[in-house]
């Protein structure tokens, strides 16, 4: 279980959003830290196959991310989570279960299980338009892990969650990370400092630091503030 990025570059007209990144992700939670505009979302979109790199490639166990088979093992929660306002939470998950290839029976079981997990069972039959921001975000998380992904990409997943929900979410991600590759982007250090096995820090399209912070001395937050102080 290995996701490999090799000399990954994404160039727009006048801007290099991601510049020659190379890294390997394995099972566990990897935190992607960086200020706004660092290139985190572009990198994640390329990992999801939503953007084509200008140069370099990304493979999962030798399979290119542009291949159809890769989408079978992918879970993705984008930064701006979109939803169907007139669907109920239950319908939303059932729809994505079909898109992810789950049989009707499995879809029903998995949907109920996930609604329970993200504490949305009580409002499962209500339209998503009536959900609060935190409830929508939880629904998005449920959608991302619906197909039991081997690669889970979460772009700023804690946005809109209250402190209590943040803690619940961290515990959930930690649990999921035991079984698959999780890449979680954020600019909030506390979201990942206790659960991330590895960290990648980005600035202006480059990796400025990567590794296991627990092997380092000092506070991650202090390091982050020092590195990104000007960007914040």
């Amino acid at each position: 279980m290995e996701l490999k990025a090799d000399m990954l570059t994404k160039q727009y007209k006048n801007k290099t959003a991601v510049d020659g990144l190379s890294f390997t992700l394995s099972k566990g939670v990897t935190g992607l830290l960086g200020a706004n505009g660092a290139g985190k979302t572009t990198l994640m979109k390329m990992i999801c196959g939503l953007l084509t790199p200008t140069d370099g490639k990304i493979t999962y166990d030798g399979m290119e991310v542009s291949e159809e088979g890769y989408r079978n093992i992918l879970g993705y929660l984008p930064q701006d989570f979109g939803y169907y306002p007139d669907f109920s939470g239950y319908d939303f998950l059932m729809y994505f279960a079909a898109l992810k290839g789950l049989s009707r029976h499995d879809a029903r079981v998995r949907t109920e299980e996930l609604l329970e997990l993200v504490a949305l069972t009580d409002v499962a039959r209500k339209k998503v338009r009536t959900y609060s921001g935190g409830m929508k975000q939880r629904l998005g998380i449920a959608q991302a892990i619906l197909g039991r992904p081997e690669v889970l990409i979460l772009d700023e997943p804690t946005a809109g969650l209250d402190p209590k929900e943040r803690v619940r979410f961290r515990n959930l991600i930690e649990e999921i990370g035991k079984e698959c590759i999780v890449l979680l982007s954020t600019h909030i250090v506390s979201d990942i400092e206790h659960i991330a096995d590895n960290l990648i820090m980005m600035r202006s399209g480059h990796i400025i630091w990567q590794g296991n912070w627990s092997e380092e001395e000092g506070s991650l937050e202090d390091f982050y503030l020092r590195e990104f102080g000007e960007d914040k």
Partner: protein, 382 residues
Amino acid sequence: MKSRHFGTILYYEIKKIVANRFTLIALIVLAGYSLLQGICQAEQTGDYAAKTRELRRAVDGRIIDDELLKEMTDSTDEYGVLWNESNCTYEALADWVRDIVDYGRPLADYRAEDIYEARLDAIYEAMDMQYLTTGEREYWKAKEESLSKPFIWHSADEALGLADIISSTPIIMLLMIPLFLSQIFAGEVKDRTDPLLRCTQGGLGLTYGAKITAAVIVTTFLVVFSDAISLTVSYILWGNNGWNAAVQVIMPMSPYNMTMGEMIGRMFITAFSCSIFLTIVTCFLSECLNNPVAVMGTVFGGFLTILALARQIPLSLRPLSQILYLLSPVDMTSVRGLYELRLIGTGGHYLTAWQFAPLLYLCISAILIVAGRFVYMRKGKL
């Protein structure tokens, strides 16, 4: 990805289209309009049509000959324009005669032979005006010769009313289809659900197929729903008198050899295929423009531009003029289609406009579906 998932995805795609607050309102408006159309279509002159129905039918089945024409001229003024509720038996017939002959002369000046001759002259004149080729002229001459003459008179207001209902289908669908479908692809971008779809196994090809199928199902429902209400109400209230009459009783200068019923069938096929065409165009634009309002504007604008151009481009520019006419749903689903003599084909193998237009709509739709799939599969991969 197993094919059984297509049904579930299709179900949710239909739900996306119809599960919004505007759907119920739009359906109520459509039902109301269709109901009124069914009630009003044969009542365009107040209750005159209802009161005079029996009188107007009194000469149904009679041969249009000198005897019938004499009865007609004896029952009205010399130009055949003064009618009332008690003497309107020959009113429609007088209109029919005046469609063929010179308006400025008294009706009594014409014998049946003169009228049939004037009719033929008018057809040949139309052939010249439409720049028909020799092969096309031969085709219509053969059709003309196959007509059973002298014609049998039949009042056909009721059947014509049914035809009018079919004629209005493209206009109603022009309003309804963009309303329901402009969001089909654009909405995914607007609601930011597009990336979620594209990261799933069935989010590309299967979703595209399900969206197009859902759009076609919704349109089919709208056409059947609207026309079924209008046609049923009209049939119950007014009947379908004239259904088996030759189309020449309403469009005397047409050489088409068909009954009113056959004509209504042709018009329905054209209206339905045109609605499918509008559906696919709307889906394609929704995919390319990513903005529902722009989609609606482009569909309306395109429709009206084609309609205007079809009437403005001179007939002498035949290929352009003909293709615009074929692409103009308002013209193609009108009884005036009986006067479109330009054919498609060569070497004696021809299709009439009514035979070709549905094929044209479906062919363009198929091309747009394939092009749309290509765009959809590549979209976002910048």
